[in-house]
């Protein structure tokens, strides 16, 4: 029976890491072979993941470059590539200067981040807050049912109980908030976490048994 090499490699490494998780040290506390193999495989995975980030950046650049050539929304793609090139250039410059111990800390890169990226993302999140408020205000007009009303009520309670002035004067609002947060919310969260855990275990077993091959084997 012909088994692809990638499948065999994936299954073998997965089994070693799993067994190394349980048998990484001996009774004396020394690292076992499985532990060593596991550490080796983990170090390699981290390195591969770092390279994958660079590959992703390159792919992104190629896609937008194709869009520029095909003249399909080429303005945004040009700005993106321009920003990429500038940031990459600045970062490389800062790395060289850091390793030369001339100006460590990557100041220029942090400047771009602090004054361009951080304000932009923060502003987008603030607009999201206004949008969510407007959507909550029109929710009852779009779909008037029990669940919608319940949702809107819970939102109002939580928002109102966030105000310390109101909670100090209306104590049961604080208890209500505590109950909402600790009982229904946590219960739902536990259920989600259990489902996620079981799905993770099933997926792991499928990969170890070769039933699922996300790596394309």
């Amino acid at each position: 029976m012909k088994i692809p090499f990638s499948v065999a490699l994936a299954i073998g490494v997965g089994v070693v890491v799993l067994l190394g998780y349980f048998f990484d040290t001996n009774a004396a506390g020394e690292l076992t072979l499985l532990g060593l193999l596991r550490n080796y495989f983990l170090e390699g995975a981290v390195a591969v993941a770092g390279v994958a980030v660079l590959v992703g950046v390159a792919n992104l650049a190629s896609v937008h470059l194709k869009k520029i050539r095909s003249k399909q929304n080429e303005g945004y793609s040009f700005l993106l590539l321009l920003a990429l090139i500038i940031t990459l250039g600045v970062g490389i410059f800062d790395i060289i200067r850091t390793y030369q111990q001339v100006e460590p800390g990557l100041p220029h890169t942090l400047w771009i981040f602090e004054y361009i990226q951080l304000p932009l993302e923060t502003s987008l999140m603030a607009v999201l807050a206004i949008s969510l408020t407007y959507a909550a205000a029109r929710l009852l007009g779009r779909r008037m049912d029990f669940l919608s009303a319940l949702f809107v009520g819970v939102v109002l309670v939580l928002l109102l109980t966030t105000l310390p002035q109101l909670v100090g004067r209306i104590t049961w609002l604080g208890d209500l908030r505590t109950w909402i947060v600790t009982v229904p919310a946590v219960g739902g969260a536990r259920g989600i976490l259990l489902g996620v855990a079981l799905g993770t275990i099933a997926t792991g077993v499928r990969i170890l048994l070769g039933g699922d091959r996300p790596y394309g084997g």
Binding site: A52, P104, G105, Q117, T122, A126, A129, Y134, V155, V181
Partner: protein, 761 residues
């Protein structure tokens, strides 16, 4: 009008008919032309001479049944023959027949005048009138009457006239042994069942012939004999013996008509020994006692030897005929003109026409041995002959006629390859009928309705592949205006609060501080000085406003404790955020990289990276964010594994990231407390790790409110800068939701009332 009696069914038919109108039997037998030269009278010489010479014995004559039957058979023969002069000399015979008829000529040589008229049977001829002269041939043969003969007739000739003749059972004579002339006599058809004998109508055949018929084996009749002989033998044989197993017939045949093989036939008496040779050859022939059936005299051909003999039957016939009306045989013979012979048949000495239909010599009644040698009739002739009554066993052997009507035939097929057959499966008209196949046009014909539907389907299919144009929204719409209003209001009010730096909103009370916040503060408070704290900055830049306000009191508390911080992140922007947090939010503490804190940078691989960092942190992050050897720096002095840290703080807005840190890293540092500084949206998913008794999360600070609580717990006042704006924002949000909800409800109610009013109207 003259009538003819059918020889088969005995029904009277008009004489002009050829076949019987009842049974379709032939009334008038076919007469074949004879190639043989004959006299103008039609009779052979020997027969003619017999009529002149043979004496008539009154006693030997067989009684006739009626006057019609008493007609001289010879007269009948003579009436059919063309008239010739009385004294016309016979035509000279052929050379080969010259010798054959010598003996007949001897008869002819006798003076006709010397013969008396043939008297009636009741009047025996006067012996004195008989010519004294005896033919020379008879004298030579020793056949002349002797003195012992009382009546002057030789004994041998008397034996011819003996009827019935009690003959000893002679040796069985096969039909193949009979003379040809006797066999040919059997070919004559029976045209009438009328008998010249005195027997009843049902049995009007001569006795001697009947006896012969009884003694003849029926098998002989089936052995290739003509039908007329077979039919003659049928009734007689059936009456005699209905069994199919017939013994070998023993025919009493006079010696002079005996078998050709003279060895088979022994002379019966001593007188037979004196018979001439030609008579001896004919020995073994005996006339049966029972009368035989009428035998037609047609198609009787006399052979060479047979023409010399005078058989007993011939003598008997003469005696029978002369009973009623005696005619001048000589004249009758001379006047006799044989009928014309039918085609394909030889000279027939006896041609039986209508007058001879009831003749004694009915050929159909002849036994089998007589019928031997008779040529079979043609098929056409057989169909024209009358059918005699056959015995049952003969009838049983007759081939079954499918058209006899015994079976009911089914419908007749008239089409297809099976046409003409009955009871076949009727073919489909389309199959049986051979017709030209219809020509179908290759052009597709369809109606207008079909065409319309086709076009409709084609349009739908074309539209399916075409993207639908998105309707452009209106530049100014109510929804857009409302959105702008809400946004503007919120931005303006919050901005004013921030700009003015007001601190109107009170901080939460200490009694209302959650327990997880209190624990967190106690853990941090219990840290020793210059504790090694690992902090994970895993939040997004967009939520940095909330996260910085929530993490600031905690980090500030640590910095107040002179803790050595190790910063790490699993997000690509985490190291940058960490650097910003340390240099902006906690700038008052003036932490320096490599001295008070170390930024290990980004850990790729997500969960795998965290597991690797938990197992081999020095291999996963060997170099800091600013390029320094991290594990040789001051903050990480004495740190080999994560369990060497004093505290782990996870600052994240993503619950999965927080879960990953809890599940992957915390098991590697079980004795190290873990604090979670999380966003308000991640609190529900992280709280389960805090709730249990042996929780993996020892403290939790959730959002801006948690930060405010932590500041109240540590009595650090960092939150007021953002506290009033936070409170104003919450109030505006609540107000917007309430106002919007109320407005939507009112509009729905109004719309419902309008619909009800419209419906009623």
């Amino acid at each position: 009008m003259a009538e003819i009696r059918c020889p088969m069914c005995s029904q009277l038919n008009p004489d002009h008919l050829e076949v019987c109108q009842y049974c379709q039997a032939r009334l008038k037998p076919l007469v074949a032309d004879s190639g043989q030269a004959q006299d103008d009278s039609g009779l052979p010489d020997w027969l003619r001479s017999l009529g002149d010479d043979l004496p008539l014995d009154e006693d030997e004559a067989a009684p006739l049944s009626n006057e019609d039957e008493s007609q001289d058979w010879l007269d009948r023969l003579g009436s059919e023959q063309p008239e010739q002069p009385e004294n016309a000399e016979p035509e000279p015979l052929a050379a080969d027949e010259a010798g054959d008829v010598d003996w007949l000529q001897d008869f002819r040589a006798l003076d006709d005048e010397t013969l008396p008229e043939i008297s009636s049977p009741e009047e025996p001829p006067d012996q004195a009138e008989l010519p004294d002269a005896v033919p020379d041939w008879m004298a030579e043969a020793g056949l002349a009457p002797t003195d012992d003969d009382e009546d002057g007739v030789p004994d041998w000739l008397e034996r011819f006239g003996e009827t019935p003749v009690e003959s000893e059972p002679a040796a069985p004579l096969h039909t193949s042994e009979l003379p040809d002339w006797l066999s040919r006599m059997g070919a004559m058809e029976a045209e009438s069942q009328d008998s010249v004998t005195a027997e009843p109508e049902d049995d009007d055949h001569p006795e001697w012939l009947a006896e012969i018929a009884d003694q003849v084996s029926p098998q002989g009749a089936d052995q290739g004999l003509p039908d007329w002989l077979s039919e003659i033998d049928g009734p007689a044989i059936a009456a005699a013996d209905e069994s199919q197993d017939f013994p070998e017939p023993e025919i009493d045949i006079p010696d002079w008509l005996g078998a050709e093989d003279s060895q088979e036939v022994e002379p019966e008496t001593a007188e037979d020994a004196n018979l001439p040779e030609w008579l001896a050859e004919m020995s073994g022939f005996s006339i049966p006692e029972e009368p035989a059936q009428d035998l037609p005299l047609e198609d009787v051909q006399l052979g060479e030897q047979e023409s010399r003999a005078v058989p007993n039957w011939l003598r008997d016939m003469e005696s029978v005929v002369e009973e009623d009306q005696q005619q001048d045989l000589g004249d009758a013979w001379e006047d006799y003109e044989p009928p014309p012979e039918p085609e394909g048949i030889g000279a027939a000495p006896f041609v039986v026409e209508d007058e001879f239909s009831d003749d004694l010599l009915d050929v159909n009644q002849l036994p089998d041995w007589i019928a031997e040698g008779t040529e079979p009739k043609d098929e056409a002739g057989e169909d024209a002959l009358a059918q005699a009554d056959l015995p049952s066993w003969v009838e049983a052997m007759r081939p079954v006629d499918p058209g006899a009507g015994a079976q009911v035939l089914g419908p007749l097929e008239t089409a297809g390859p099976l046409s003409g057959l009955h009871s076949v499966l009727s073919a489909e008209p389309e199959v049986a009928q051979i017709k030209k196949p219809p020509v179908y046009s290759s052009k597709l014909h369809f109606t207008e309705a079909q065409q319309m539907r086709t076009e409709m389907l084609e349009t739908l299919l074309e539209q399916e592949g075409r993207p639908r144009p998105v309707p452009r929204p209106a530049l100014i719409s109510s929804q857009g205006v409302l959105r702008w209003i809400v946004g503007a209001v919120m931005i303006i009010l919050v901005g004013l609060v921030i700009a003015t730096g007001s601190q109107v909103a009170p901080l939460p009370q200490v009694s209302t501080i959650p327990i997880e916040v209190s624990q967190a503060s106690r853990i941090v408070q219990s840290l020793p000085a210059e504790a090694r704290v690992l902090i994970a900055f895993d939040y997004e830049p967009g939520l940095s406003g909330e996260m910085q306000f929530a993490a600031a009191p905690v980090v500030n508390h640590l910095m107040l404790k002179a803790a050595r911080l190790t910063l790490v992140s699993t997000s690509p922007t985490g190291p940058a955020l960490a650097e910003h947090f340390i240099h902006t939010v906690q700038s008052q503490h003036n932490y320096q990289s490599g001295e008070q804190y170390i930024n290990l940078g980004y850990i790729p691989g997500g969960v795998t990276g965290l597991l690797g960092f938990a197992e081999i942190p020095y291999r996963i992050t060997p170099i800091s964010f600013d390029g320094l050897d991290a594990w040789q720096a001051e903050p990480l002095d004495g740190i080999k594994t994560l369990s060497d840290f004093d505290l782990l703080i996870v600052i994240t807005d993503n619950p999965n990231t927080g879960r990953a840190w809890v599940e992957q890293v915390q098991p590697a540092m079980p004795a190290v407390p873990l604090l979670a500084v999380i966003s308000a949206q991640a609190e529900p998913l992280i709280r389960p790790y805090y709730m249990p008794q042996d929780a993996q999360v020892d403290g939790m600070v959730s959002g801006i409110l948690g930060g405010a609580f932590y500041e109240r717990a540590t009595q650090v006042n960092l939150a007021p800068t953002y506290w009033d704006a936070f409170n104003i924002g919450l109030v505006l949000a609540v107000a917007a939701i309430l106002i919007g909800g109320v407005m939507q409800l009112i509009s729905l109610l109004l719309a419902g009332r309008a619909e009800r009013q419209g419906t009623v109207a």
